[in-house]
Amino acid sequence: MNFALSDEQEFLKEAARGALSRVKTVEAARDALDGGALPDLWPTASEAGWAGLLVSEEHGGAALQPLEAMLVFEELGRVLASVPLLGHLPASLLIDRGGDAAVAAALAEGTERAAFAAARPPSDIEDAWTVEPELGSTRAPAPVLADGTVTGAVHWVPDAEGADHLVVVLADGRAAHVRAADAAVEPTTVYDVTRPLAHVRFDGAPATLLETTPEDSAAAWYLAQALIGAEALGASDVALETSVAYARERHTFGRPIGSYQAVKHELVEILRRADNARSLMYYAGWAAKDRPDEFALAASAFRLSAGKALDHATRAQISVHGGIGATWEHDAPLYFRRAQLSRRLLGGDAGAADRVAGELLTQARAAA
């Protein structure tokens, strides 16, 4: 038994941190709120091999595991780096398994990009594949395929702008490959400008059915859940580090504020939540590789745990910093924006909680 990262995995993290340290991503995130352009980190991603991280070697990829992808996302989250991998990785995984080999190779190389019009798999109490609605709490039916064309709409799709390929999950759980040019992609950002989103509408768009199973589509959904979680965990760690540093040096009533229980216990709570999330990231990584039937549970639990950890951490960061933490010049609000959007993305943290319950109740019913 060995439940820690391998040297290779530690090295992958360090390499990612190094590569990202060359760009002032957090400053860029702030400028972007005033309309500034975000740096294009895709070349960095391609050179680092992140584009082909999950693509098989026969298609020129690194054939690494979801855990490695999570470790990269942890580093992306630390510095709020805007790299369109949340769409690209799950999509490339499906194309690699059941799509055009040439496209898979292009995606692995990074010369072309893919986005993932995801659908949430059915649960113990919901039998449909559903997608994000434009507004409100009622999920929408996934697009349908008929005589080679896809029709339907998927909202709040990450990284669709500028993608060459779209992988769309259908109402029956299968997945189809659509050229982005054949779909109506309406770019938008909301609240967190480091997260490019789009409303994607398919109106009889020519599509190729992938030779993958609904299980593959589900695995791609849960991969996206785990990636959102990893990103949140990285951001939460930074919120903790900056808050601890400030609490040690900022004085009030003749003492560092970190010596007061209210502040100290709040900071420990960030650590407690992050530590639980890290254990679940390892669980999700281990399950993806050794217990595929537990990946739905593990990835959902990890996404929930990390999402709630980041939500709490960014609020604590703001309040520990006092008023200054709520000002435009401070980094805390940028991490807070990330937390607030991520919390509602791709089924939301609440959806992940529901899925954890569903998976465990299903197990319990089977055992009963």
Partner: protein, 397 residues
């Protein structure tokens, strides 16, 4: 248990209604942007002042109506019903004016209260500093008296509302660093157009700039600019904070944070109104807002009986922020990413974490209530009786 007006109050309410009915056509809309709007709001305050509705609780000799908190509430209620804005300079008329009335010299009252009331001169509060937030007595802005009795002022203030519109500011400065920190402070009236005063807007998470930073670079103040005794500024400041607490404590509904408003927001997604969890969360949030409304009536009953407000206001502030945060989260959870795109809710979610620190952090308020109301022992104070200059040296060490 009775929320009806007494006959006298009913009569007063009718007078207020009549005045508003006659003048409301002159009023600007309740919300707006830009200099022209600010000018209109100031003009409207002047009209309210002429109608004796701007400073209901100020003594008549200073242009107020010389009435009590109940009349103030009636004015607020009727102004709300008439869908017209209230006074523009809430901080001046609500907190700083009363402070001048309590501690200012007769000259200062005669000079300042009139123009403040009519908004011909807007005021701002210059207390907080980057290194003196919760611990207000730690202000470092230095005021040194000159041979001729004038003062030289240097330092930085922050979280200043309306600084960009203000003619004067009420400023807390350190006049003696060699005594314990509460004992070496003095309150001053500062002309905001004085040489050496620089104002810089401070943007919030939402991008709005509700506050400013104010830099003071060797600013000269005329002799007699001090309010209350030299080195007696802490007591003067406490008066202001007491009036601030009343304003904040009773203020929640003023921000439009009301159960009915959030219920209306939920109706944009009818499906969620049948979801047990959404209903449960909303029921708990709404209950806190309802409690705030009736806590307000209890506080008013106390004020009217001459009780000095304090703890209830502090707890009401904690509840207000807590409930408003929960409400913003709920609505955006229900509406999804599209909810964050809606400015009404996006800004609510954005501004509130910051407001936790405004008007005393939650920690400070809980300490205050725990010690003053529950009689719990204070934390050990390492700064008691130590000259301010030594404290600073220790912190920087």
């Amino acid at each position: 248990m009775d929320l009806n007006d007494t006959p006298e109050l009913a009569t007063y309410r009718e007078e207020v209604q009549a005045w508003l009915a006659e003048h409301k056509t002159d009023a600007p809309p309740p919300h707006g942007e830009g200099d022209a709007y600010v000018a209109a709001r100031r003009a409207w305050q002047k009209q309210l002042a002429e109608g004796r509705l701007a400073a209901v609780t100020w003594p008549a000799e200073y242009g107020g109506a010389g009435l009590g908190p109940l009349q103030q509430v009636i004015v607020n209620q009727e102004i709300g019903r008439a869908h017209v804005p209230g006074i523009f300079d809430i901080i001046g008329v609500g907190m700083l004016g009363p402070t001048l009335i309590a501690h200012g010299s007769e000259d200062q009252k005669q000079r300042h209260l009139g123009p403040m009331l009519t908004a011909d001169e807007v005021w701002c509060q210059l207390f907080s500093e980057p290194a003196a937030g919760s611990d207000l007595a730690g202000v470092q802005t230095r005021a040194k008296q000159q041979e001729d009795g004038s003062w030289r002022l240097s330092g930085q203030k922050v979280w200043t509302t309306n600084a960009q519109h203000a003619t004067f500011g009420l400023l807390l400065a350190r006049t003696n660093p060699d005594v314990p920190k509460h004992k070496g402070l003095t309150m001053f009236v500062v002309p905001m157009d004085a040489e050496g005063v620089t104002i810089r807007p401070l943007r919030q998470i939402s991008g709005e700039a509700h506050f400013n930073e104010v830099f003071l670079d060797d600013v000269r103040l005329e002799p007699g600019a001090e309010v209350g005794p030299v080195d007696g500024g802490w007591g003067v400041g406490l008066t202001t904070l007491m009036f601030e607490r009343v304003t904040i404590g009773l203020g929640g509904e003023g921000f439009g944070w009301r159960a009915d408003r959030f219920a209306h927001a939920l109706l944009t997604d009818e499906a969620c109104t049948r979801d047990p969890e959404t209903r449960h969360r909303f029921g708990e949030i709404a209950t806190e807002f309802l409690a705030l409304r009736f806590t307000g009536y209890r506080m008013l009953t106390g004020l009217q009986r001459g009780q000095i407000p304090g703890a209830e206001g502090a707890l009401a502030k904690v509840t207000t922020i807590k409930a408003a945060i929960a409400a913003g989260d709920l609505i955006v959870d229900v509406l999804g990413p599209g909810g964050l795109a809606d400015d009404r809710f996006g800004e609510l979610v954005s501004d509130l974490p910051g407001l936790k620190s405004a008007g005393g952090t939650e920690e400070i308020l809980r300490n205050m209530v725990g010690e003053r109301v529950l009689g719990l022992p204070p934390e050990p104070r390492l700064d008691k009786g130590i000259p301010f200059s030594e404290l600073r040296a220790k912190e920087l060490a």
